[in-house]
């Protein structure tokens, strides 16, 4: 069975200084302090290669894809479809046609909840999600449950921030038609045991959708080895432009689904009272697509592949371990697993008696960008009895020195609040 966390081979290291030089924004200052960007779980920064790819498209190749007979139209189509091929290769999808482009995770999950859920679910069926989900993997299913009469059920989480697998058998039953679960929690950092979850879901005949918004940017994902039915992701969290991203879907499931967005370019023929659809993936891609953004995502994937996803993970494990240790020692309460092997690079915490919003404002004065809030995961916040947390999140361009700056900034916050 595929392991979602493979220990990278030794020697897979990345040159952080060389990587940082590719990200123009990292030379910015916040007031008189260097920027320390610790909010990549919200959106990652972009290397010059991605910025150039998007701008090169507009400067030299801009035309609508799949429409123009003219030369630019052909170039635009080739670049756009080239990006699809890169995404397919990155996820080891069996074909480029199994990749549907969307504006990102939220739109992708809505596409599944609408195109698959509303077509195949009925009263008595169950949709299983977990208490760990981002709102983008809750709300679309609430809407679909209301429309179809299906019941929405939750796999609970433990005090340690893990999925409560002891409850899996009671909530995952033959009534479960789809199990939609995060691969890595944005609020807790938890990496979920996907191989086990997928096997258990398939054993009861359920389709599995994975929210890969945090997983895909940080860990190597092989959709065939995992035997995945769907995985959704956002380009902007993996060095790509905003409004890039999409989903992988198993071909026969995509074929059986209804379209999501109706309109131009997704149809074969239109008659007064009905229309016929193009083949997948085009039946899901109504209207002019985010062509430049997906081309930028292709460049982001080139960048990540040149580094190697094993090296990405190895670097993040090192930073995560260091950050968990330092933030914990500084006196903060950390939410989510404390074992770096079980988590990605998002560390949610509450520092002493400083409210996360106050903390985010104060550390910003030291140049440090962290997130404060409920992280679009209000169920998680309620589970742990906090209205909000502070969250520091890391990526390939972050260093241990930056963690040290965060710690000093936390100490500064404590001084301010000790007034």
């Amino acid at each position: 069975m595929a392991k979602i966390i493979d220990k990278p081979a030794s020697g897979d290291t990345l040159d952080v200084e060389r990587i940082r030089a590719d990200f123009p924004i990292l030379t910015r200052r916040v007031g008189d302090k260097p920027l320390v960007y610790l909010d990549s779980a919200a959106t990652s920064q972009k290397p010059q290669q991605v910025i150039d790819a998007e701008s090169d498209f507009y400067a030299h190749h801009n035309a609508n894809a799949h429409r123009g007979i003219h030369m630019l139209g052909e170039e635009a189509t080739e670049l756009f479809e080239g990006a699809r091929g890169k995404v397919a290769r990155f996820l080891n999808a069996p074909s480029a046609e199994s990749i549907v482009f969307t504006r990102g995770t939220t739109e992708s999950m809505n596409l599944i909840a609408h195109g698959w859920g509303r077509k195949f679910l009925k009263a008595g069926d169950e949709i299983l999600i977990t208490e760990m989900e981002h709102h983008s993997n809750i709300v679309p299913w609430q809407l679909t449950a209301q429309q179809t009469g299906a019941t929405l059920r939750y796999l609970p989480i433990t005090d340690d921030g893990l999925l409560d697998l002891s409850q899996l058998e009671s909530v995952l039953t033959e009534r479960t038609k789809i199990f939609s679960v995060t691969g890595m929690s944005n609020a807790l950092g938890t990496i979920t045991p996907l191989p086990r979850l997928i096997e258990a879901a398939h054993a009861v005949g359920a389709v599995v959708a994975v929210d890969g918004a945090q997983l895909v940017p940080h860990l190597s994902v092989d959709v065939q080895a995992l035997d995945l039915d769907f995985i959704v992701f956002s380009g902007h969290k993996m060095l790509g432009p905003t409004a890039s991203g999409g989903l992988y879907g198993r071909r026969e499931i995509l074929d059986a689904m209804d379209p999501f967005i109706g309109g131009g370019e997704m149809i074969l023929e239109v008659f007064p009272d009905y229309s016929t659809w193009k083949e997948v993936p085009y039946k899901f891609e109504g209207g002019t697509m985010n062509i430049a953004q997906e081309i930028g995502l292709g460049a982001a994937i080139d960048y990540l592949e040149a580094i190697g996803m094993d090296a990405v993970r190895a670097h993040e494990e090192e930073i995560n371990a260091y950050a968990l240790k330092r933030i914990g020692e500084a006196g903060a309460t950390i939410y989510g697993p404390t074992d770096p092997d079980l988590r990605g690079g998002a560390v949610s915490f509450w520092y002493k008696d400083v409210h996360p919003h106050d903390l985010a404002t104060i550390v910003n004065e030291e140049g440090v960008a962290i997130r404060a809030g409920h992280h679009c995961a209000q169920l998680v916040m309620r589970r742990y009895g906090v209205p909000a947390t502070a969250r520091a999140s890391f990526y390939i361009y972050n260093t241990k020195d930056e963690v040290d700056v965060l710690i000093s900034a936390l100490e500064r916050a404590e001084q301010v609040f000790a007034l």
């Binding site: 409210h355 996360p356 919003h357 106050d358 004065e365 409920h374 209205p387 909000a388 609040f417």
Partner: protein, 152 residues
Amino acid sequence: MALDDIYKEVILDHYKNPRNKRELPNAELSCSKNNPLCGDDITVFIHEEGDTIADVAFQGQGCSISQSSASMMTEAVRGRSVEDAQALTKDFRDMMGGEHEPDEDEFGDLVALKGVVKYPIRIKCAVLAWDVLQEALQEGAGEAAGTAPHTV
């Protein structure tokens, strides 16, 4: 240092020792709101005697800016007429919009929140309690005018 402008002693004092943070059993009016961005929430309770805000209290949770603003607000509007409290609400909002130079006599501790203007994303924190106050007072006025009130 700029930071000290918003984390003044007076703000932290109201945050750590909030005034009138309790329920008000004899409140005729109450209203709750939260800030969906951050999850801060505030409930304001008002006891009126005639046209005067005889007592006012709040409950809630959130950052130092939202909670201290609520605390200061209760002190600032107690004993004022409804009309007067609404005028102060407008002045406070205008101060947070950078359009009103506060008068120390009128504003008292509230002047301390002026520094928040430099942190646009935090202005909502400072204004939340005042939004709740205004809505509660409007509902009171609605009741007087015969529209459906949402009162305790």
